[in-house]
Subunit: 131 residues, 2 copies
């Protein structure tokens, strides 16, 4: 969240692998999850590189970034939607209801500009509730 924005100029194996993985998955992974998944195929991959690229993608608007229980979660799907995070298993799911955007904007102070709208619902998922 603090990495300085340096728009990417060169394409590398690592960048391609990271964005490809993020877009192929619906788990809203942490940086470490991405790192561990890719390390199988790219053993020399470093965690710092994963953080740098995930942060860059988020800043460029190529991914969503939100925080759950003190950890950053990334989402390769940037179309507007919300998230449900399970307190028990830590899983995150997409929710596709629409926000009343005109109403929202009406409540913002005049002159404020919006970069993102994050809706995060916390609770227990159905699976964890059964156990």
């Amino acid at each position: 969240m603090k990495n300085t924005a340096t728009p990417s100029q060169r394409s590398t194996k690592q960048k391609t692998a990271i964005i490809t993985y993020l877009r192929s998955v619906k788990t809203h992974p942490t940086a470490e999850m991405v790192y561990l998944a890719l390390k199988k195929k790219m053993p020399q991959l470093s965690l710092g590189t994963v953080y740098r690229n995930l942060d860059a993608y988020a800043q460029e608007g190529k991914s969503l970034l939100f925080e759950v229980k003190g950890q950053q979660r990334f989402d390769g799907d940037v179309s507007p939607h919300s998230h449900f995070a399970c307190d028990a298993c830590g899983g995150v799911q997409d929710l596709w209801f629409a926000l009343p955007l005109p109403k929202v904007k009406k409540h913002l102070s005049h002159g404020a500009s919006v970069r993102s709208i994050d809706v995060l619902i916390k609770g227990q998922c159905d699976t964890c509730n059964v156990r």
Copy 2:
């Protein structure tokens, strides 16, 4: 966010001061902000105590807890509302538009239970936009 829930049994100066301060303020302070504010009057107050009590209040539903830029922010007003966080100055403001709750619930998986709904809008506040 990781402190184990131990419902408070004894009332102390510190607990009273912390919840009173949190309810008196509209700044959505971090634990450190609360600590620094109260330390003026209670010089022996410790940061750990502030964290423990703020976390406990959040778990008991006596305050709201959400995360902005890797930091926990606390809100003594637990009536349902949303937040706007300025990327530039770090300030957080309340927003009082209503969510379409029936629609939201319709999209949750059957069997899931909801503990909280956090709406966080990020951008630049009017003041920072002028500068």
